[in-house]
């Protein structure tokens, strides 16, 4: 029970040393009239109302900043992510790609019955895609040096190699190089249209859209073939309506923890179709197996599950071969490879090196030279680009080559079984070259540009040779061959041109984005570091000017479009001008009273250190090395901060401050170094990095010993938090239940979850997998319910972490007017109220929010990541103590929010992530869910991926709240006889300053990565290094902006109100 005196607030003078411990006071209640107390209460209510209004106001300001960031990122992305014009032209049977008369003659003579543009070799085809079938899975293991031993994934699917070696006329096996991004959806587009992917489509793997370009499936469909699709349902979204509905069976493709459902489904429906009695029901079957890919995602390639899966595929292929007839072509291929952990999406060698195997009982395949008889030992020899499949399949099945195709016919498929059918090779290559030329011409016309000169020269030369060859004089054979080679050269040359062409950036849009971001940062600098006055006082004017600017800008933008001054779309133009308008408005509001301004330069060592960290990191992103080694650099910076904190602590006057400060500085540094042992290396860090996040570098499951980490976290983390609460005597009230019981319970359930997970992987328990899975999902949902459901509710209604004890007064003088007094000045016995936890009342109350999110985020991490997050929380608390002992909380030093930014980025890497797409742990969606459900799935992935940054962002208000002395209206007005100020708005101003400083760090990093990605857009490492880092920077900025606004700063409302209800305003 907390006594709330009728005066509307407990008046107590905090003794000068009392900020850390308890205070004692006797309630002051000059038994005055009810009138006075009513006035007080009204005043109090008014102050609370003022706080609430101003709080809403600053949320508005933060929203504006968020929108500015979004606009900047949008305009940059629009220009940066590559786009390609999609032509609607379709190739047709009747129209050969040649413009000359001879072409037409051929067309008519070849006629339709034997194939469209070229004699067909097969009537039917079975196309099997084994997702993520890497080339080195399929060839015998060749050690690169003596010590190298075969991995588990080697030599498990020998059928492809055996057939290609034993019956070279029946089978060919070749490396099959994918064009990144190596996501399945992008690969299927490439494999059916023959075009290059552009970046604009990357990442839309989770929401496939229909292909409207000319493609192989559409050509088959219009040729009247019956198409069957089995397996990965991405096909259905890409080619809706093309497949025979009765025979096709799509399966959900995103449950990567399920290795068998899709594969068993394909087998179940594939083999019946291959039986002789069903042969007439279909023409082409597309079967897409996902087991290998899922085994890679779940376990990594070097795992027994992968070996078993590959052996299973070996059996499947042998079975298909057995039931194949002479007129059916069998194609088996991987759509991409996988990296050493089994993930894919990027453009590393392991990810792009897939395998292609073609088989026919009729010997049609040939090799043009003896050296090429055996399949290549390594994926970088004699490889074919994946788009080559498109013309190859088209011509083998007697179809026109899809209009947009850039691939060339695969030599082995047209060289004849003796390998010297040069005229056939010439014919098919002339066809595909002509089609490419036609496409290039159409594309150039559509873009309003001319043809490339060099390719024109190549084409002419090839054509000349062809004419010589077709006249059939003495040198015919050589002419045929050289003509073939020239056509071939022309095709490859065009492919290279197109690769360059579609790396065409919209530079003006990129510049617009960069300028928006830059102006946004300048305003943020002014707002965060350049204002002398209470920021909440600015809000009304700021918001109205921003609103006016936005409106004017939007109208002006629309006007520009209306009068045709710009060729942007109306929405883009309005958005752009609205953003600039709002900034002009904002700038005007901020600069209106120059007296309020101060030069936003850092002062003192801490300010410069904060600037130094931010700027040097931003500059470093221009170098691929510093981007690759970001995790180590962050450790270096954090240790530097810790050392500086130790130095500064040594200078403190008070012994308590000095000792505590030095202790926490040392602790901070050591914790960071311990956390740094959790690593997940990116490919470029090899060989100087050893991954510890998973059981091994070729696996994506946790080692058994790592299952102990959740238990350690459960035992120690609540105690660590408790020790920090006890330090200010705040482990009182709700804290005991919240931290001691609820938090620990949640962590215990988390540990159990991972034991069950380990049991599932290791098959330790005699339970069915489904049972285990549903228990796990239940446990995970329970933890999330505790964290977000119960936790949020409790956060709204909880009392501050204080305990009030009243010692009884001597009975004779109950009505004596109690006066505030300071410990040690007690003159006569009175009612003594002791408040424990008074010194850190704001901080401990707000920290509950961090605890809630910490629990949820720990639940979403793998065991190693849970340890890392626990260390993060410890380091945050340690940082807060450092800030307090070095007097950095009340001075609004930028170092606190900036170091939190560093911590967030650092632990991003320590929770098993890297700035590459393939490090996204998609499978964590299945921690609390058994199927993908929107919108929860993306939110869960965000919680896993950016967990560290989210926690750091939520802790930002603590940099000004931790151990902040309680200030109420009467205290302030007593001490300083200035105008009546509301101390709560002062607090709010400090919070928003800290939040905008934190934003400033991330916005600067985002601007830097954006600018470097834009500037280095022709850099060799763009897609590997700069582009993913830009995307990460933008995503982090967006997520943290939202979290700061909706969670961190918003949460201050409830924590402050709950303090105000007890102590008055």
């Amino acid at each position: 029970m907390v006594p709330t005196p009728p005066t509307g607030g407990l008046s107590s003078n905090s003794p000068s040393t009392g900020s850390r411990g308890s205070i004692q006071s006797s309630p002051l209640a000059p038994s005055t009239k009810a009138k006075q107390s009513a006035i007080q209460e009204a005043k109090s209510r008014q102050l609370e109302q003022e706080f609430k209004t101003k709080h809403l106001g600053i949320l508005g300001v933060l929203t504006w900043v968020l929108l500015l960031h979004v606009a900047g990122i949008y305009f940059f992305t629009k220009g940066f992510l590559l786009t390609r014009m999609v032509l609607d032209n379709k190739s047709s049977c009747d129209l050969l790609p040649f413009e000359d008369a001879s072409g037409r003659a051929v067309a008519s003579s070849m006629g339709s019955k034997k194939g469209c543009w070229h004699d067909k070799s097969f009537d039917k085809a079975v196309v099997i895609i084994i997702d993520a079938l890497r080339y080195d899975f399929t060839v015998p293991f060749v050690p690169r040096d003596e010590s190298e031993a075969a991995h588990l994934f080697h030599d498990n699917i020998p059928v492809l190699y055996e057939t290609a070696v034993n019956n070279p006329a029946n089978a060919i096996l070749l490396p099959f190089i994918a064009d990144p991004p190596t996501t399945t959806l992008q690969r299927l587009k490439g494999l059916t249209t023959g075009t290059l992917p552009t970046f604009i489509d990357a990442g839309s793997n989770f929401a496939g859209t229909a292909i409207d370009e000319d493609n192989l499936v559409a050509q088959l469909h219009s040729a009247g073939k019956t198409l069957v699709h089995l397996g990965d349902d991405t096909w259905q979204s890409l080619f809706p309506g093309y497949f025979d509905a009765n025979l096709s069976h799509p399966y959900d493709s995103f449950n990567v923890w399920d290795l068998h459902t899709v594969d068993n489904g394909v087998n179940e429906h594939l083999f019946p179709l291959l039986r002789p009695e069903n042969k007439t029901k279909w023409d082409v079957i597309f079967g897409h197996y996902l087991g290998v890919d899922h085994a890679g995602h779940r376990y990594g390639p070097n795992h027994a599950a992968m070996a078993a899966k590959l052996q299973e595929m070996d059996g499947v292929i042998r079975e298909i071969i057995a039931s194949l007839d002479d007129d059916t072509l069998l194609v088996v291929m991987g759509d991409h490879g996988m990296d050493i952990k089994g993930d894919h999406g990027g453009e590393s060698d392991d990810e792009v090196e897939a395998a292609l195997w073609m088989y026919s009982k009729r010997g049609v395949f040939g090799r043009t030279s003896k050296e090429t008889l055996l399949p290549p030992k390594h994926a970088r020899e004699r490889f074919v680009p994946q788009i080559d499949l498109v013309p190859t399949l088209s011509l083998l099945l007697g179809l026109p080559i899809p209009f947009n195709n850039l691939g060339s016919p695969i030599e082995e498929a047209f060289a004849g079984s003796s390998g010297n059918d040069w005229s056939n090779l010439l014919a098919v290559n002339r066809l595909s070259a002509a089609q490419i030329k036609r496409y290039q011409h159409a594309y150039a016309t559509a873009r309003g540009a001319g043809d490339d000169e060099e390719s024109f020269a190549l084409w002419t030369a090839a054509d000349e040779e062809w004419k010589t060859a077709s006249k059939g004089f003495t040198s015919k054979a050589t002419a045929v061959r050289s003509s073939y080679e020239l056509y071939r050269k022309y095709q490859r040359h065009t492919l290279e041109i197109c690769r360059g062409l579609w790396a065409r950036f919209d530079v003006s849009s990129m510049i617009e984005g960069v300028v928006l971001l830059l102006c946004g940062i300048s305003l943020l600098v002014l707002y965060a570091r350049g204002m002398k006055i209470d920021r909440t006082e600015l809000t009304p004017q700021l918001l109205s000017f921003v609103g006016a600017g936005t409106g004017l800008g939007a109208v002006a933008g629309a006007g520009l479009v209306l009068f045709g001054i710009t060729d942007m779309t109306a929405i883009d133009s309005s958005a752009l001008l609205a953003a600039f308008g709002s900034m002009v408005g904002g700038l005007f509001a901020l600069l209106k009273k120059p007296a309020n301004l101060t030069l936003p330069l850092p002062n003192g060592m801490w300010g410069w250190l904060a600037v130094f960290f931010t700027v040097s990191q931003s500059v470093g992103f221009a170098s691929n090395s510093y981007t690759i080694w970001e995790d180590e650099i962050l450790l270096f910076f954090l240790t530097t901060f810790g050392v500086c904190a130790g130095i500064s602590s040594m200078r403190q006057k008070s012994t308590a401050d000095r000792v505590l400060g030095v202790y926490h500085s040392i602790l901070f540094v050591i914790l960071g170094r311990v956390a740094s042992f959790s690593r997940l290396c990116r490919e470029e860090q090899m060989p100087f990095c050893r991954s510890t996040y998973y059981a091994s570098s070729t696996s994506s499951i946790s080692a058994p010993w790592q299952l102990a980490i959740p238990f350690l976290v459960m035992v120690f983390l609540p105690s660590v938090v408790r020790s920090f609460y006890i330090g200010s005597k705040s482990y009182e009230g709700a804290a005991t239940l919240w931290i001691g019981v609820a938090f620990r319970l949640g962590l215990l359930i988390t540990s159990l979850f991972w034991v069950l997970e380990g049991a599932d992987d290791g098959e330790w328990l005699p339970l069915r997998k489904e049972t285990l899975k549903s228990i796990r999902v239940f446990l995970a949902q329970l933890v999330l319910a505790i964290a977000f459901g119960a936790g949020t509710g409790a956060f709204f209604y909880s009392k501050p972490c204080i305990s009030v004890s009243v010692s009884k007064p001597p009975p004779e003088d109950p009505n004596a007017p109690p006066v505030p007094f300071i410990v040690g000045q007690q003159q006569q016995p009175r009612t003594t109220v002791t408040i424990l936890g008074f010194g850190n009342v704001y901080g401990t109350r707000f920290f509950f929010l961090v605890v809630n999110f910490a629990l949820a985020i720990i639940m979403m991490q793998k065991p190693m990541g849970q340890g890392a997050i626990a260390l993060l929380i410890w380091q945050i608390l340690s940082l807060l103590e450092i800030l307090d002992t070095n007097a950095l909380t009340l001075t609004n030093s930028p170092i606190g929010p900036i170091v939190l930014g560093l911590l967030g980025s650092f632990y991003y890497f320590k929770t098993g992530h890297q700035a590459v797409l393939s490090s996204i742990q998609w499978e964590t969606v299945f921690i609390p869910m058994s199927t993908v459900k929107y919108p929860w799935a993306p939110l869960l992935v965000i919680l896993n991926t950016f967990g560290a940054q989210i926690l750091a962002a939520i802790a930002v208000p603590l940099t000004v709240l931790w151990k902040r002395p309680l200030q109420t209206h009467d205290r302030v007005s007593q001490s300083s006889n200035t105008k009546l100020v509301n101390p709560a708005t002062r607090l709010l101003s400090d919070v928003v300053q800290a939040a905008s400083t934190h934003m400033l760090y991330l916005a600067t990093i985002n601007l830097a990565t954006t600018m470097w990605a834009g500037h280095l857009r022709r850099h060799l490492m763009l897609y590997r290094i700069f582009s993913p880092r830009f995307m990460m920077g933008a995503a982090v900025l967006g997520v943290v902006d939202v979290i700061l606004m909706l969670v961190a700063v918003a949460g201050v409302r409830w924590s402050t109100i709950s303090v105000g209800e007890i102590f008055g305003w």
Partner: protein, 291 residues
């Protein structure tokens, strides 16, 4: 950074507790006045840099062996430097720095000339004055100080710096010999002089931990070693594939250069006697950091 940033009202108003710590009182250390000492004090940094440049190739070729082989030479160099050029502990006038020294204003804040003469009449001396009594006693004091500084450098400073290196990201499970040798070299560069002139005076070492010593040749060398090593870490991650980018080499090179320049620069009138402040009014240190 010509002028310090104007402190905002917020900062000055609310930072009374920060108060740039107790003003340290021990004066900067001067090089001994003899011609030999003065001359050698300029030669020594050059010798260090020369050693660094001369042995660079061999260090790159085989860091552990070469660094180990260089260690006695460096120790001998440092010991001869401190014995030749610096007053051993206890011979400079040391105003008591224990706890709350009220008379902080008395500390000379400006160059006070190369003077080792005692200042009789000052309230207290930490230890007996032994210099100047007799040549033998002076040499004895020098020898004792030198011995002490070598012992502390190898026993305390080296492990401490090694731990710091690991905390900054040096590998823990591999390259231990390199880390230890790097730490030993850095300790010899920085700690030998400090221990030699300050002994184990707690109040001065408290200033050292707080980076609050006034600039002089010894302190400048020590601080320069640290900062140089810090900057030396920068080229390591770059993908230039140079053999000298291997772990301890650039850090040590930075430390040597930093030590040489630090000891020279901090003797110039511009810096001599100045202290690094953390509080808003100054930016010196940060200048070093940002440049």
């Amino acid at each position: 950074m010509a002028s310090p940033a104007s402190p905002s009202s917020v900062n000055t108003a609310a930072s009374p507790s920060q108060a740039p710590a107790e003003k340290p009182s021990a004066p900067p250390i001067d090089i001994l006045p003899s011609l030999l000492a003065q001359t050698y004090s300029y030669v020594h940094p050059a010798v260090l840099l020369g050693l660094c440049a001369l042995r660079f190739e061999t260090v790159v070729a085989d860091p552990v062996r070469e660094l180990l082989a260089d260690l006695p030479w460096l120790a001998a160099l440092q010991i001869s430097y401190v014995m030749l050029c610096l007053p051993p502990a206890g011979t400079t006038s040391i105003e008591v720095g224990s706890g709350a020294d009220e008379d902080k204003k008395k500390a000379p804040r400006s160059p006070s000339g190369p003077s080792v003469t005692l200042r009789p009449g000052k309230p207290a001396y930490r230890r007996k004055q032994s210099s100047g009594r007799s040549g033998l006693a002076a040499i004895w004091a020098k020898l004792m100080s030198a011995f002490l500084s070598l012992a502390l450098t190898s026993l305390l400073a080296t492990p401490m710096i090694a731990v710091l290196l690991v905390l900054f990201g040096a590998p823990l499970t591999t390259h231990n010999a390199e880390t230890l040798l790097c730490a030993a070299h850095m300790a010899l560069l920085s700690a030998t002089g400090l221990v030699y002139v300050h002994g184990v005076d707690g109040s001065i070492w408290k200033q050292v931990w707080g980076i609050a010593r006034p600039a002089d040749a010894v302190w400048g060398g020590a601080l320069g070693t640290g900062l140089g090593a810090w900057f030396g870490a920068i080229p390591i991650p770059l993908d230039w594939d140079r053999p000298w980018q291997a772990f301890p080499i650039t850090i040590l090179a930075g430390a040597y250069i930093g030590c040489a320049f630090g000891s020279l620069v901090s003797r110039t009138p511009l810096l001599y006697g100045k202290r690094i402040e953390f509080a808003p009014e100054q930016v010196e240190e940060d200048e070093k950091k940002t440049n």
